[in-house]
């Protein structure tokens, strides 16, 4: 294993760790290019890919919410309005990097290549995460807040010890930044100079609690300086800016520059989940203001304006998105087979005698119930 030096300061002046006062932006809300640019504009093919994946994500998200109404998903936390952040961050990762998502980041997980039905396993009400984390380099979607940030740090630190070129990106929400594990993870990553990108999607609300009740910091990105972690505040509805910021942070981490904290300023257009009622805690005119800053429309306008996209291409993309949604709907409309014995299979590497005994108990119970059903028929 390679030895790891733990340079804490990296020679940066404190001021250089601070984020900008206003969010870094590449595209105006109407799609025009910001001049002078705050970041390096991604290549045209990247912009086209961002738009394409965001359109697919938007349709996936709508379909997933619909599946809750049909009883096919137990719950779905929508990422509508956050597609620039979700997709921009994932497309900026390299194949060898790892993604540590939360429950709200299903569209990011799918964008990383995970089969949509597998990605929705937990939200469908299953007992496991669906996909093989090693196959996609995507950790299970994390339900407790911020705990997975430490897993990202540990995985990235191990990669460095083993001499692997791997960066871990962890997705967090604004509420999660109040959790102790966010503090712990930023601090560990900074002290160890681990190749980690802390990607905070500030969507304005932690269920019902607005950011003003969450923190008194000038911005969430300002928290970085306290750990010696350089931070960026980026327009989270600008896919080009998110992509460029994350790409830069990944490159820096891969070159031994340590962790970066990125706050993507965005908005949760839907309620916390389908089970939540957002009208109890926020006004519709606030939502309307953010709808006018829609991230998908923004990059679409930009591409149309530059001739990188046209009406027929959009129509074809919408048709593709509809077809994917239809396929998802169809696959989710089949009842899954559940074997209760599976619940006992992976608790330990080898089933313990006690668990084996309890499985026998349950099996006998099920057999008796089946016999009863047979008799009553």
């Amino acid at each position: 294993m390679t030895s790891v030096t733990r340079a804490v300061s990296r020679g940066r002046k404190p001021r250089e760790l601070l984020p900008t006062g206003t969010p870094l932006t590449l595209l105006e809300a109407d799609g025009r290019t910001v001049r002078p640019a705050d970041l390096d504009m991604p290549d045209d093919d990247v912009l086209v890919a961002l738009h394409r994946k965001m359109a697919l994500a938007r349709r996936f998200d709508t379909q997933a919410t619909a599946l809750t109404r049909q009883g096919r998903l137990a719950v779905y936390p929508s990422a509508r309005g956050q597609e620039a952040s979700e997709i921009g961050a994932v497309l900026a990762l390299r194949p060898q990097d790892w993604l540590f998502p939360t429950y709200r980041d299903s569209v990011a997980v799918v964008c990383r290549g995970v089969d949509p039905v597998e990605a929705l396993s937990l939200l469908r009400g299953d007992w496991h995460c669906g996909y093989d984390p090693y196959e996609y380099r995507v950790a299970p979607q994390c339900t407790p807040l911020a705990t997975h940030a430490l897993h990202a740090v540990g995985l990235a630190h191990a990669a460095r010890l083993k001499g692997e070129d791997t960066v871990a990106l962890v997705m967090l929400g604004d509420g999660a930044t109040s959790e102790g594990d966010t503090h712990a993870a930023l601090n560990f990553a900074a002290v160890w100079q681990s190749p980690v990108v802390f990607f905070v999607q500030n969507n304005g609300y932690a269920i019902s609690v607005p950011l003003s009740k969450q923190t008194a910091a000038p911005s969430l990105a300002h928290k970085g300086i306290g750990y010696g972690v350089p931070a960026m505040l980026v327009d989270g509805n600008d896919a080009a800016a998110v992509y460029a910021a994350v790409r830069g942070a990944v490159a820096s981490a891969a070159e031994g520059g340590g962790p970066t904290l990125i706050e993507a300023l965005t908005y949760r257009v839907e309620a916390h989940t389908n089970a939540d009622d957002a009208t109890r805690y926020r006004r519709q005119d606030e939502v309307e203001q953010w709808l006018a800053r829609d991230p998908l429309a923004r990059i679409r306008q930009h591409l149309l304006g530059r001739g990188l996209l046209d009406g027929p291409a959009i129509a074809a993309l919408e048709a593709e998105a509809d077809a994917e949604a239809a396929a998802l709907r169809q696959r989710m409309n089949t009842d899954t087979e559940h074997d209760p014995a599976d619940l006992f299979r992976h608790v330990y590497a080898e089933q313990t005698p006690a668990l084996h005994g309890q499985l026998q108990e349950l099996s006998a119970e099920l057999a008796a119930a089946a016999d009863d059903a047979e008799v009553s028929r």
Binding site: M1, T2, S3, V4, W127, H128, C129, D132, P133, Y134, A139, P140, P144, T147, H148, A149, L150, H151, A152, V153, G154, L155, A156, H157, A158, A159, L161, K162, T166, A168, G180, D181, H183, A184, A185, N187, F188, V191, D342, R345, H346, V347, Y348, A349, T352, P353, A354
Partner: protein
């Protein structure tokens, strides 16, 4: 103490008397030497060698990439260990004291214990969390908790605790090799107990109890810090004509029903001994299992000799809290001998 059942192949390394702390140190050194994926980290485990010196000399010998101090955050230590294990390493982390492990509780119960299950076996987390636990060393508050049931109650964790130096070595080596996460509870008042042993880990399996003393009238079930108290009580009881069997559980989860049940079915009487509070304590589970599995063999209720249901007392008062030889002997006397047969009669 009767012959300690350190079975298995004898390695060339026969030691003079070693303390439990030294045996643990040796186990860590041997694991680090044999497997380059093993890492040791925590608070003060580097140059200082840990507050109990269990990691003494390891950082100098194996380098600070493999044995190192972390920021002072227990959830951070366990959370980072989880990520490292996801990436193929075998972290052995130290929580400095029992009660200081509580900040890591969410990482342990919500992630470490469940990762294998929620990934259908694809992600194994071979993490060992060493926790010095229990009282008897005159520690001030928060330094003497017996926290075993918090972990034993959590599916997906293994919980083990050695009571002798030889077992400390064997169990720690086995815990590090185990594919499941292991909570490794070190009875800190036994750290300086000595034993001449062969340090080997090919003996009794990680999840098996050991009969430390054979007897026929009553079974004492103990672990960790209370094993020696139980053995002393057994010696004293022998002078009064009672033949006492003493079981060292070693593995609190999974529980070795087979060894315990076989013993109690022979003796017909059982007492569980532990330092931890009685209510919902580990003894409650043992008593329930013994009652379920040995009911028709029992001559008396299963008794518990435990700490009281109070916060762990300060140094000047802890002697009143800890299970003593006298308390165990009193409990043996209460096992309804007069209603059955003379005490010297061999149990069924």
């Amino acid at each position: 103490m009767t012959a300690i059942a350190e079975r298995g192949r004898a390695r060339p390394v026969t030691t003079a008397e070693v303390t439990m702390a030294a045996a643990l140190n040796r186990a860590l050194a041997d694991a680090l030497g044999e497997d380059e994926t093993v890492l040791v980290f925590g608070e003060d485990v580097g140059p200082l060698g840990g507050v109990f010196r269990v990691t003494d000399g390891l950082a100098a010998r194996f380098g600070d990439a493999r044995v190192f101090d972390t920021p002072l955050t227990e959830s951070g230590i366990v959370g980072a260990a989880i990520g490292m294990a996801m990436n193929g390493l075998r972290p052995v982390v130290e929580m400095q004291f029992d009660a200081f492990a509580y900040p890591a509780f969410e990482q342990i119960t919500s992630h470490l214990a469940k990762f294998r299950n929620r990934t259908r076996g694809r992600v194994a987390l071979p993490v060992v969390i060493r926790i010095p636990y229990g009282g008897g060393i005159g520690g001030v508050e928060h330094h003497s908790d017996s926290s075993e049931v918090y972990y034993a109650h959590t599916p997906g964790l293994r919980v083990v605790t050695p009571a002798t130096p030889g077992d400390a070595y064997a169990l720690l080596r086995q815990a590090i090799e185990c594919p499941d996460p292991v909570i490794f509870l070190e009875p800190k008042r036994r750290y300086w107990s000595k034993q001449a042993v062969v340090l080997d880990h090919a003996g009794t399996a990680l999840d098996q109890a050991i009969v430390r003393r054979a007897g026929s009238d009553v079974t004492l079930i103990a672990y960790g810090g209370t094993l020696d108290t139980a053995l002393e009580a057994a010696d004293a009881a022998a002078e009064e004509g009672r033949s006492v069997e003493v079981i060292d559980l070693r593995s609190l989860s999974p529980f070795d029903d087979e060894t315990v049940t076989a013993s109690v079915r022979r003796t017909g009487r059982a007492i569980v001994v532990h330092e931890a509070s009685r209510f919902c304590g580990y003894g409650a589970e043992v008593a329930a299992r013994v009652s379920e599995q040995c009911f028709h063999y029992l001559e008396a209720p299963v008794l518990r000799v435990t700490g009281f249901d109070i916060p762990y007392p300060p140094p000047h008062l802890e002697e009143y809290h800890l299970p003593s030889v006298d308390r165990i002997l009193d409990a043996i006397d209460r096992l309804q001998w007069q209603e059955t047969r003379p005490a010297v009669t061999a149990g069924r």
